[in-house]
Symmetry: C2
Subunit: 385 residues, 2 copies
Amino acid sequence: MSSQPPHSTLLIPGPIEFDDAVLQSMSHYSESHVGPAFVATFGETLSLLRKLFQTTDPASQPFVLSGSGTLGWDLVAANLVEPGEDVLVLTTGYFSDGFADCFKIYGANVTQVTAPVGSRPQLPDIEKALLEKKYKMITVTHVDTSTGVLSELKNLSELVHRVSPDTLIVVDGVCSVACEEIAFDEWKLDGVVTASQKAIGCPAGLSISMFSGRAMQAFQSRKSPSRSYFASMKNWTPIMQNYEAKKPSYFATPSPQLVHALHTALTQILTKPLAERFAKHKKASDRIKGAVADLGLKQVAANPDDQAHGMTAIYLPDEVKAAELLPNLSKKGVIFAGGIHKAIAQKYIRFGHMGVSVTQPERGDIDKAIKALQDGLTECGYQKA
Amino acid sequence: MSSQPPHSTLLIPGPIEFDDAVLQSMSHYSESHVGPAFVATFGETLSLLRKLFQTTDPASQPFVLSGSGTLGWDLVAANLVEPGEDVLVLTTGYFSDGFADCFKIYGANVTQVTAPVGSRPQLPDIEKALLEKKYKMITVTHVDTSTGVLSELKNLSELVHRVSPDTLIVVDGVCSVACEEIAFDEWKLDGVVTASQKAIGCPAGLSISMFSGRAMQAFQSRKSPSRSYFASMKNWTPIMQNYEAKKPSYFATPSPQLVHALHTALTQILTKPLAERFAKHKKASDRIKGAVADLGLKQVAANPDDQAHGMTAIYLPDEVKAAELLPNLSKKGVIFAGGIHKAIAQKYIRFGHMGVSVTQPERGDIDKAIKALQDGLTECGYQKA
């Protein structure tokens, strides 16, 4: 029996529904941010992140900062790239465009490899771009929350290491970490940035990231200082290292309550093999995508290999308006998200299926959402052709 | 009867002890950051901040961002000052030095008016500095958390408006907002940045600020773009204005739980006249400072007019080490903070007295802390001369 009051089930691509124990950790009594109890909790949290990202390389460096997922872009752009350096941004939608804008603010020269809405840049095009210029960094949005397009990391990393081995590989994993497989060491990634409120299942308010020894080296050998103060790796790296070594340290006050909640969420995730977690998300996703197809509807992500497993972006039939369907679903106790990709914003909706809604089927969230979608579409005038 | 488990009383200069209802708001069930319920809560929170800062000028602009108090420095330095412009930083300790470092990262030319440890720059010295150069901005740390030195805002603002009327006046109010008087409109301030976890009494994780119409104008008329992406006023201003108008809007995901807690904290604060709240903090402070004097100890802030009312920085007797006294106090159930000002770090401790520990005397926090300090000093070998 949940300790949460009855409420509509939140099935947007983040924030997601939270486990009771995680929410209770948010109410933790006040602690000193440099006291031994909290230092131990924060230190353990950083170590747990190494397991979540599947990295055992001691040179890998986790960061947990107060902020939203977007702050991770600043962390990358202000620290790992210097003004005038070239960055290749693989573009799959709204969030890749945002990452590109962030790089420009910090003075990088940005080249984007684009793809039509609902698809992702293909490896031959990426190879061509990499051969044209020496890039300091390539970035990829693992799951673009605006389209539900999934990018492949393993093959991409192999390509980059083959044709441009000095190029740092940085992943925007905001909508993928903890629901899509990420083997940080094995795939030789240099950075993954994410947020607390998606598949990790901790309320919003934390920017979470992991960087490789090679990325940290790139930061150490900068010729110019970090371009951010709050998001400066110079300011934060010793703090993160001290916390993980269980030593008190201060740059700016972390949020003990959010860190406690993250600790609880990570502990829950890591009680079971990660492979099992990813498989559960794939199974739920397959079921949802099957139901969408049964309804005669198309996904924004057109190719089955490019479809995310923690969310589904669904094109609406012409006769159904999102402005009518979403409130209808809300009355049925299910909250979906509207479109956000500028080119198609009014034409689709987004269904998030991450975390406890997937791993605790006894909650019935997915069943309820599929039923609501079927009924809601009918009530809004849709009849399958 | 508190719903919190028994725990040591946190009396450091932030985070502070939190009210039960505020902590319970941290466990709010998950909501969409763009859904009508949360949009209303966030919008009301922004309007409540206008009351807390005592501003009725509709041109004033509040911001609530995920981040720590330090992020407020970036918000000021990356948006309101352009590279090469001159900033005058009034320096009272560790936190003024940090603000100066932040400006340098964003390309400002920083001049500091310094003062000996435990005092603050005096008006004639500030006037002299203002007459030497045309400054875009002057900053003052209202209460420097490292020393407990209180700066005067009203007289300072009068001086600046008299001798350098175009200079923006920005206040670091991290350790002063909600325990020291700040009359934003009446004192003609242009910016006050603060954090959630001090006298406002909401867990850490939010950067909270208020800017004048004049400051927003300075941002609008920048020749170069904002130097930060996550802390960009261009990105956030429309979002804050939309939330306050109860319209959904998105740049980066806010933390619904923290915003609920802030809403609860502000609602509690504003049920009573602010003057009463400030008077209560002054009365508790006077009592604590009296007890410190009775013990024969000196404060870091030497001049009674320069002493903060939400914290007290206390020089230890030569024979007592902080490393011995602080654990002794902790065993008595009272957490004080060590020193942080580099020049004197080992020689003093800090006692925070803000929020519920002051406004709810029935908690007995202050009584307990004074008794613990008296007993702890004796047990650590101190005898009043």
